[in-house]
């Protein structure tokens, strides 16, 4: 149950699948092994497929950015097991608060891949209806959304939802090692803990907050943070999809049963750049990259499937076909995004009419039509909100 964190300091870490793809049977992990054992071959193949598609999504999005079709992209490469494994433990009624790198979670959640790139194309600040997928849109201010998750979970408590490990409702929020230094993340754990709110704090420690290593964020292993706030806290091998799944399922069930929040640190590695504007060669070594390439989460699950006879040619062909479809869908879909219904800068600023926005919209539309009224802020902003 122990691996190293790269600094040779032994930190207890749950691992059910070693880097070579062998199932691990360490003492004290039977509960987790039973959860992983309950996954059918079809489940494992589904996880593999979604992990491969998440990586393909990364590659396609990065290419689209290089071609000028996206303004920016934040790759998830290396974190596929942490994301797909945890998302597989979710039930439809659960609610997800991602940061902006959880492409694998949203893949499992069924958010259209093109919609997931609206934000990065610069055609939307969000991209989908959070209530349609029970998954919020991306939040860019680091850690701000963890408070929304805690509050949402407080709402779940007030709704009187059943306390049941299947039919209860849990909330999960994803954040990174850098975010653990944010006040909001710490406040969210205070609020969740004192309220026994049904929320799982899922930390993906990918070891890099842009250029700053985890040592710049913490003197102690990060999983201990959760325990300090009074919640069950566990560190898992984030490149081991079985351990991630089992630990997340346990934490989500605890939440659904009304037993309060949990904290999971998935220890992983950001194999790519922070975003397409980043240059990791300025701050980390190729040796470290190489070491983690040998611990690739997809290779690890592939090795397990191969060993268990589940990765046959037919299935591999199906995955390849799904990848090709995803690529084609993204390449055509992203380029077509601008051809949709025209939306205005002035839409949805407020839910009810606001005089200033109404006046500025009216002025701008007249200006665009070549007939600008003067003064600029013509008094459309009347008492009742200025709709005219």
């Amino acid at each position: 149950m122990t691996t190293t964190n790269g600094s040779n300091e032994a930190i207890p870490t749950l691992q059910l699948l070693d880097p070579l793809g062998n199932r691990v049977t360490t003492r004290g992990t039977k509960g987790y092994r039973d959860r992983a054992a309950a996954l059918t071959a079809e489940d494992l193949r589904g996880m593999y497929r979604d992990m491969v598609l998440t990586r393909r999504f990364d590659e396609e999005a990065t290419s689209l950015q290089r071609q000028g079709e996206l303004a920016l992209y934040a790759p998830a490469r290396g974190q596929e097991a942490a994301q797909v494994g945890s998302a597989y433990a979710l039930r439809p009624q659960d609610f997800v608060f991602p940061s902006y790198r959880e492409h694998g979670v949203l893949q499992v959640r069924g958010v259209d891949p093109v919609d997931r790139l609206r934000f990065f194309r610069g055609s939307d600040h969000g991209g989908w209806d959070p209530n349609e997928h029970n998954a919020n849109v991306y939040t860019v201010v680091i850690g701000a959304h963890t408070l929304h998750a805690a509050g949402y979970a407080m709402g779940v408590q007030r709704d009187g939802t059943p306390h049941d490990k299947h039919d209860g409702t849990a909330v999960i929020t994803y954040f990174g090692d850098g975010a653990t230094s944010q006040g909001d993340v710490n406040e969210s754990m205070v609020f969740a803990a004192v309220n026994d709110a049904p929320v799982v704090f899922f930390l993906q420690n990918n070891q890099w907050a842009i250029s700053e290593p985890t040592a710049k964020q913490s003197k102690t292993p990060l999983y201990q943070r959760g325990a300090a706030f009074g919640m069950p806290s566990l560190r898992v091998d984030g490149n081991d999809v079985l351990a991630v799944y089992a630990a997340t399922q346990e934490a989500l069930e605890r939440a659904r049963m009304g037993e309060g929040p949990s904290f999971i640190e998935a220890f992983t590695y950001r194999m790519g750049a922070h975003t397409t504007t980043d240059d990791p060669t300025r701050y980390r070594t190729t040796e470290q990259d190489e070491e983690w390439r040998r611990r690739d989460p997809i290779d690890r699950l592939a090795a397990l499937l191969r060993a268990e006879g589940e990765l046959d040619e037919d299935f591999e062909a199906q995955v390849k076909e799904a990848e090709a479809e995803l690529g084609a869908h993204l390449r055509s879909g992203v380029r077509a995004l601008d051809g949709g219904v025209p939306v205005s800068t002035f839409d949805d600023v407020y839910a009810t009419p606001h005089g200033v926005v109404a006046a500025e919209r009216a002025w701008y539309e007249a200006y665009e039509a070549g007939d600008p009224p003067t003064p600029q802020y013509a008094i459309a902003d009347t008492a009742q909100g200025g709709a005219r």
Binding site: G126, G151, Y152, G155, D159, T352, V356, A383
Partner: protein, 346 residues
């Protein structure tokens, strides 16, 4: 001249059975407004520090936890960002949280959640999610308080699209506007003039809740020679100034803005076109304050009706002073009279 009988009417505290009105302090009027909103909609909940058994440091939530329970009147951890951030999540789940920030100067730990999240989520989700969150902030000075307890940060929020920023000046408006703010699907920063918390006035507890009061300025005194524009605690200063001007034979119109986002420009313009002079009063610093926005709008729209430049009276570009010097900082009747004199001198 006010007679004793008239005074008695506004301070009796007894309901008037004929009109359905009662006399309440501004703080009690907010309390009754919260109570009415909570009785009307069980999704309305209150969150804040010391708002439960204590009833808030100003007793604005007095008795509400006893009536509605700990799930709806929540004594939160001492963390303002946490209060607003969790209120956002509760709103996403269908609740209508009303957050109390204990004092104006303590809103800044929540500034990020208010400006980058609360204000933007409706827009970010293209209208799929609305944010019916009210943030109540006792603000303003004149109470002899220590640092961070007397400030007027409203302009910082008015400068952020997506937020509504309002401030009642009297008990009746406080009672009505808090209910309208809670009913609004948009986030509302509700600035309560703490220096006026104990001022009493008639309140009709049967006032229907619409949205009109929240967005509409009100002429609280008609006049012909100069328009005094104010909101929150400064309305009382404007009215007193108008009294003094009347004694000098000058007729001032007093406009209570009620909201600075949106600003009821039409009401201001209508008044200034009539009077030809405009003085804006607020406790917040004049520099980049609401008065600057009003002056610009009035100048654009009433240029040929103006007899003088729009003048502003308010706080200085200094930290809010120590209590012993706050009388120098706050817009007094004397300073407003000086501004009116300057307007007439043009």
């Amino acid at each position: 001249m006010t007679t004793m009988a008239e005074r008695t009417h506004t301070t009796s505290g007894a309901p008037d059975p004929a009109s359905g009105t009662t006399t309440l302090s501004l703080s009690k009027a907010v309390n009754e407004g919260l109570r009415a909103a909570m009785r009307r909609d069980d999704k309305v909940m209150l969150m804040g520090e010391d708002i439960g058994p204590l009833g808030g440091v100003f007793r604005v939530t007095d008795g509400l936890q006893a009536e509605f329970g700990e799930q709806r009147v929540v004594d939160t951890p001492l963390a303002e960002s946490g209060i607003v951030g969790t209120a956002i999540g509760l709103a996403m789940r269908g609740y209508r949280p009303v957050c109390e920030i204990q004092f104006d100067g303590f809103v800044f730990p929540a500034f990020n959640q208010i400006t980058t999240q609360l204000a933007k989520i409706h827009n970010r989700t293209r209208g799929a999610v609305s944010m019916p969150v009210v943030i109540r902030i006792p603000y303003g000075g004149g109470i002899g308080a220590v640092e961070h307890h007397s400030e007027s940060p409203e302009a910082l929020f008015a400068h952020t699209a997506g937020l509504r920023v309002v401030s009642p000046s009297n008990p009746q408006d406080a009672y009505t506007m808090i209910q309208e703010a809670i009913a609004s699907p948009d986030p509302v920063l509700f600035f309560e003039p703490k220096g006026r918390y104990w001022a009493k006035g008639a309140v009709d507890l049967g006032t229907p809740v619409a949205s009109a009061t929240l967005n509409a300025a009100k002429v609280v005194r008609t006049g012909t020679d100069v328009t005094l524009v104010a909101y929150g605690p400064s309305v009382e200063t404007a009215l007193k100034t108008a009294d003094a001007l009347a004694a000098e034979g000058r007729s001032a119109e007093v406009l209570d803005l009620r909201a600075i986002s949106p600003i009821d420009t039409a009401a201001v313009v209508a008044s200034v076109r009539k009077t030809g002079r405009c003085v804006v009063i607020h406790e917040a610093p004049v520099f980049f304050g609401a008065g600057a926005e009003i002056a610009a709008r009035v100048t654009e729209e009433c240029f040929y009706a103006l007899e003088a430049p729009v003048l502003r009276v308010g706080g200085f570009h200094t930290p809010y002073p120590v209590a012993k010097h706050e009388h120098e900082y706050l817009p007094s009747v004397d300073r407003v009279l000086d501004a009116v004199d300057r307007a007439f001198a043009h």
